[in-house]
């Protein structure tokens, strides 16, 4: 099963650390990620740039509008995500709870949805439309 782990962190928290602390944190996290990868638990890793770089798109008055910054202005912001390959939800919880990055913030674990049936149905609908 694949699980997405969304890592949230308070902006500035990492920047507020000393260089030595930052290096230690990087080393610990990368070492743990290496272990996850070596055991086949990492399907993808996606670190993100700071929230200032974000652009949010939304629908307004019948067209797309944009604003600077993240969608939700919360204390902790999405900092990166990891797609885990785990046996079940408790396995995913166990793998993430041992991650050194846990010390920096909050992690949300969500199972990946299987849309294959819905997609197949949609394809059937679309085929019917074109045959008309």
């Amino acid at each position: 099963m694949k699980y997405i782990c969304l890592g949230y962190m308070e902006p500035g928290k990492f920047e507020g650390m000393t260089e030595d602390e930052q290096h230690a944190m990087f080393d610990e996290c990368f070492e743990y990620n290496d272990r996850l990868r070596a055991n086949g638990h990492v399907a993808a890793e996606v670190p993100l740039q700071p929230t200032e770089t974000a652009v949010t798109l939304y629908w307004k008055n019948g067209k797309v509008a944009t604003t600077d910054g993240p969608y939700a202005e919360t204390k902790e912001q999405l900092a990166g995500l990891l797609i885990l390959e785990a046996r079940d939800l408790n396995h995913a919880i166990q793998l993430i709870s041992q991650h050194p990055g846990m010390k920096l913030g909050t992690n949300e674990i969500r199972p990946v949805a299987d849309l294959s049936e819905i997609i197949k149905e949609s394809e059937r609908r679309r085929r019917k439309d074109t045959s008309r």
């Binding site: 099963m1 785990a86 046996r87 079940d88 939800l89 408790n90 396995h91 919880i93 166990q94 199972p111």
Partner: protein, 366 residues
């Protein structure tokens, strides 16, 4: 996961060998072994690494027993015991267990996380109980297995298929424990589960309605399971150290061997309930005894016994008493009283198959 499982083994020997090798290494390292980490690595190690090292069978069996006793430790909450047992011993995933228990995976995952935290904090020793502790600890483990079985057996509507897996898992656990620790009550519980499961095909109609024992088509009963259950029962009875599971199995066996309701040996069933009431004087057992007495001596006598249970006991499923009472009135031809008792029962249960059954009975009385 399933490809790891040989038909009659819950966990492949190879995996146990790997775990034992790991444990020896841990000992060699002089590191303090963390039980939870040990359990996790075992549950998550789906690759089942095969080790060449020879490991004594005894050590493998010890490891299984330790795991069973740890998951069913009385210090853990009951739901945690069940969830841990199914995940760590049966190898079910969090999602599968959640589906069977009709809760979200997130809820079930937290039960497991909490149970593991409790094992860490208490701390619960990873060992086979001493002979002094064994009866109590074994009783706790048997309760977990029977809980799993009953959860599957009293299937809620709409989820029958996944819940049927639970009865299968419980029987497999019963077999494993019988193999590892063939105590009379362990054998008795396995016998009881097999005898109850033997009626599976006859218990519900094609449209999902519940069919009572007395109305079941006995040709649908699984003869193989009955034969195995009866053979186990005889073994447990011979020990003369049996308890409530064996007695319940004995009652189930009397039914299993009867051609029809009329030809059932109700005297023997009442005698067995008399014994069962002595060691397990719960209102549920007393109600069942009252119904058996009614079968032996007639509904009038049955009614007085049921009323006595209603007066004294706090019945968890009180609708059962009203339903039984209604049945006595029905057999006595006292239609109005029968109907009002069925209605009382109907108002007291939410279980859909039960409700359908009661509604059908009320319809028949109109």
């Amino acid at each position: 996961m399933d490809d790891l499982l040989e038909p009659d083994w819950l966990i492949s020997t190879a995996r146990f060998k790997a775990i034992d090798a790991m444990r020896r290494r841990a000992r060699f390292d002089g590191a303090q072994r963390d039980l939870v980490a040990h359990m996790e690595s075992r549950a998550n190690d789906a690759s089942g690494k095969d080790e060449d090292e020879e490991t004594g069978d005894e050590e493998i069996e010890d490891d299984r027993l330790r795991l069973i006793f740890t998951c069913g430790h009385p210090a853990l909450p009951a739901e945690g015991q069940v969830a841990l047992t199914l995940r760590e011993i049966c190898g079910l995933t969090t999602e599968e267990i959640a589906r069977a228990f009709l809760v979200t995976p997130a809820t079930l995952a937290q039960r497991i996380v909490r149970a593991k935290a409790k094992i860490r904090e208490t701390p619960i020793p990873y060992e086979v109980p001493t002979p002094q502790e064994l009866p109590e600890r074994l009783a706790a483990v048997l309760r977990v297995i029977y809980l799993v079985f009953n959860e599957g057996y009293s299937a809620a509507a709409g989820a029958e298929v996944t819940r049927a897996e639970l009865t299968g898992e419980a029987i497999r656990l019963g077999r494993l424990l019988t193999e590892l620790r063939p105590e009379p009550e362990v054998i008795g519980l396995l016998s009881l589960m097999l005898l109850q499961e033997s009626r599976h095909a006859a218990r519900t109609s094609p449209t999902g309605e519940l069919i009572l024992l007395v109305n079941q088509d006995r040709s649908l009963w699984n003869r193989e399971q009955i034969a195995e259950g009866v053979a186990l029962l005889e073994k447990a009875l011979k020990s003369r150290r049996f308890g409530s599971y064996t007695l319940q199995a004995a009652i189930a066996a009397v039914h299993a061997e009867a051609e029809s309701v009329a030809r059932t040996d109700w005297r023997q069933i009442v005698a067995l309930y008399n014994q069962l009431v002595r060691i397990q004087p719960s209102p549920v057992v007393q109600l069942n005894r009252a119904v058996a007495i009614a079968m032996r001596d007639g509904p009038e006598v049955g009614l007085t016994h049921i009323d006595a249970v209603l007066e004294h006991g706090e019945l968890p499923n009180i609708y059962l008493a009203h339903s039984a009472r209604a049945d006595m009135y029905r057999r006595l031809g006292r239609t109005a009283e029968a109907r009002s008792s069925y209605e009382k029962a109907l108002a007291l249960t939410q279980q859909e198959p039960e409700r359908q059954f009661l509604q059908e009975r009320i319809r028949q009385l109109k």
